[in-house]
Point group: C2
Chain length 198, copies 2
Amino acid sequence: MQQRSEETHSRILASANLLFSKNGYDATGIAEICQAAGVSKGAFYHHFPTKQAIFMELMENWLSALDSGFQLMLSQTENIPQALLQMADMAGNLLVSADVRLPIFLEFWRQAMRDPEIWQAAIQPYRRYQVYFSRLVQEGIAEGSLSPADPERPARVLVYLAMGLLMQALFDPTNVRWPDEVRQSVDIVLHGMARREE
Amino acid sequence: MQQRSEETHSRILASANLLFSKNGYDATGIAEICQAAGVSKGAFYHHFPTKQAIFMELMENWLSALDSGFQLMLSQTENIPQALLQMADMAGNLLVSADVRLPIFLEFWRQAMRDPEIWQAAIQPYRRYQVYFSRLVQEGIAEGSLSPADPERPARVLVYLAMGLLMQALFDPTNVRWPDEVRQSVDIVLHGMARREE
């Protein structure tokens, strides 16, 4: 029974993801999600109190997968610049497919501009990545592989770069050579922060 | 008469801009724009065939202003890195105000994902900036102030950075110190491309 319930949960998520990406968050109704997932409304509300709740869970899942990958990279590399380049490769591979899930970011951000609760859910992982990269840069400083003036700004620049690459993948995915593009872009920023002496 | 017509045109644009930013493109009707601008529907259609046409003109105006500013910077500075830092300051000052016009980018991009015509209108300036920065980097190489392996990728990295900073300004404008943030970020990328020897 538990297994079947989890399977239903996943199916609702997958259907909602597809519909949000294809038609937008606003235009997608719960009835439509139920139909696509082949579940009753009763079953739907057993799993999710609102449409927004699905949205949140989709974002969390996506970010968790990314986090796990990053942790793996970190444990398998010798220094921070190498780890960051490996993360770039992983992110590049995520972007290469012009992932059907990417457009949902735009939906998410747009909702976040209007709804403080969604904004909180959107800004939290965003800021978390800034903190995460800042910790990596600090580790890089400690191990002597990086030497920026301060660790905060280069960390944010990595996040800016990630956001910019995400936008490229959204709008013009075929115009660059993924995942090489991500690695080489991160490499430029790494050089920029590795060799600064101020 | 000509003057009055231009004034009406500007008023429609300003009202639409405000409403799009506040309520979103989809949720804003032509009737509402007319009311906010204090013009009749007849006057509206004299100026714009569709709501989308206003949207396009808003984007074009914004980008034209940016272009003119960039040209000015370029004519007043001694070398490319200096010009890019000046452009960063200008862009930083644009972002510092958490400009009411910024949210419209999200609307624009979201529309672009669905409508090939809007996509064309969105991708054209985006690619133009990549070409523009690539030309600047080439000039930098020619004058000896920059030495990247190739001019294309660093140019794209500048565009990625710009997009990332735009997202920061949209979502978390108070969490960084503008316009310093833009200048220092561009500086990191400049260092990254200035000192590369491959």
